[in-house]
């Protein structure tokens, strides 16, 4: 590890100050668990961005699913999101009030059933929703695409010199897709060694001002990704504007179901029209997601907000920065 630390220090030599961002809950977790930030020299800052799919799901979407569930619509959902507090309650709490909410590991469990899939997640998980639609499953689609918020962050207040790119989103979309961001990027796998090596490579790109994408996960990520998965995604879903927790509406950053017959937003429009959402004013999840603050900068962190009593999504999800910081230690 000393050798790795020296390599990174060396790579950062020509740089006065660099801020690099990772945008993947899986990366956030490994970085924290292994204390990888301690390997970085003082002139390099690694921030976490909106890489947690549960965290970036809007309060409004949570409230809409709650409204459906409390109106006796059967809901199927991936696990983490069940404990995110909506305006009135969480899905888990609705379940204890008698709502039929089925926790699933895979959409395989509900293909063609009468459950409505609460489809959250990025491009890694969207193809599975397309398969569910192919099997005539109803879907409330809240999928999000990674590149538009990254573009918004690059144009925002925080200076970002480069990104560590999610390996499994890249396995689906391909390494070529990221070039459009026109900033130094390194696609990384999920071992601590791979992530450290990716950071070293990224710092070299930054010091040489090379705005290119380096694929450091090339046994799994190919230039065009998984063409079959990409095609089926766009056969059944279309790109739409989407609301991100902490970032507001981002144009063309989400997916919606093409066929109105299986689109829960259309089918249950009358129930959904009455949903009004109000985010907690104390929760600073939005600022955490944009890399503006660390979890420990939030007054609620470890006080009123803990994994057992979460005030916001970032503390609920195993991929949320606050949950990870709580379990593994401080970011700084």
């Amino acid at each position: 590890m000393k050798q790795t630390e020296a390599k990174i220090r060396n790579a950062a030599k020509g740089i006065s100050q660099a801020t690099i961002m990772e945008v993947c809950g899986g990366h956030t977790s490994v970085i924290m668990q292994y204390g990888l930030r301690k390997m970085l020299p003082e002139n390099v800052r690694l921030v976490s961005g909106p890489g947690c799919p549960v965290c970036v799901t809007s309060q409004h979407d949570i409230d809409c699913i709650l409204a459906l569930a409390l109106n006796k619509v059967k809901i199927a959902s991936y696990g983490d999101v069940l404990r995110v507090p909506g305006t009135r309650m969480s899905l888990d709490q609705a379940r204890s009030k008698g709502a039929d909410i089925k926790e699933i590991y895979s959409v395989n469990e509900i293909l063609g059933s009468d459950y409505v899939l609460f489809a959250i997640g990025f491009e890694t998980t969207a193809p599975m929703t397309a398969i569910a639609l192919k099997h005539k499953t109803e879907v409330y689609c809240a999928h999000k695409l990674m590149i538009p918020p990254m573009r918004a962050l690059l144009n925002g207040g925080l200076k970002i010199d480069g990104f560590i790119i999610p390996g499994h989103v890249s396995a689906v979309i391909g390494s070529n897709e990221w070039e459009i961001l026109n900033v130094p990027q390194v696609i990384s796998g999920f071992t601590p060694e791979n992530i450290l090596n990716s950071i070293e490579k990224l710092l070299i790109l930054i010091s040489r001002r090379k705005k290119i994408v380096v694929n450091n996960y090339d046994k799994v990520v190919f230039p065009d990704g998984n063409k079959k998965a990409k095609k089926i995604m766009l056969d059944y879903m279309r790109v739409v504007d989407s609301e991100w927790r902490g970032m507001g509406n981002i144009p063309l950053s989400g997916l919606d179901v093409k066929n109105p017959k299986y689109n829960a937003k259309r089918k249950y429009a009358d129930i959904l029209a009455n949903v009004k959402s109000k985010e907690s004013s104390d929760c600073r999840c939005g600022d955490v997601l944009r890399g503006i603050i660390c979890p420990e900068d939030c007054a609620l962190f470890r006080n009123s907000c803990t994994p057992k009593s979460p005030k916001g999504a970032c503390m609920v999800s195993a991929e949320g920065s606050c949950n990870i910081a709580y379990r593994y230690g401080l970011i700084r």
Partner: protein
């Protein structure tokens, strides 16, 4: 959500592949890839998302 693990396909019936993950076997949906018996795949939430060479993922 990012978690994906490699497995080796043991047998295939239609779009479901019995897949071996270091001794544990599970049915995996392979409709997102073109894979056959003996192939290695990367699996996420019960689906193969990419065909890969057998590898140490370090």
């Amino acid at each position: 959500m990012c978690l994906a693990i490699p497995g080796k396909i043991v047998s295939v019936k239609d779009e479901i592949a019995l897949t071996d993950f270091g001794g544990i076997r599970k049915d995996i949906n392979i409709s997102l890839v073109d894979a056959k018996k003996g192939d290695w795949v990367l699996v996420h939430v019960g689906f193969a998302i990419q065909k890969i060479e057998k590898l140490d993922l370090d």
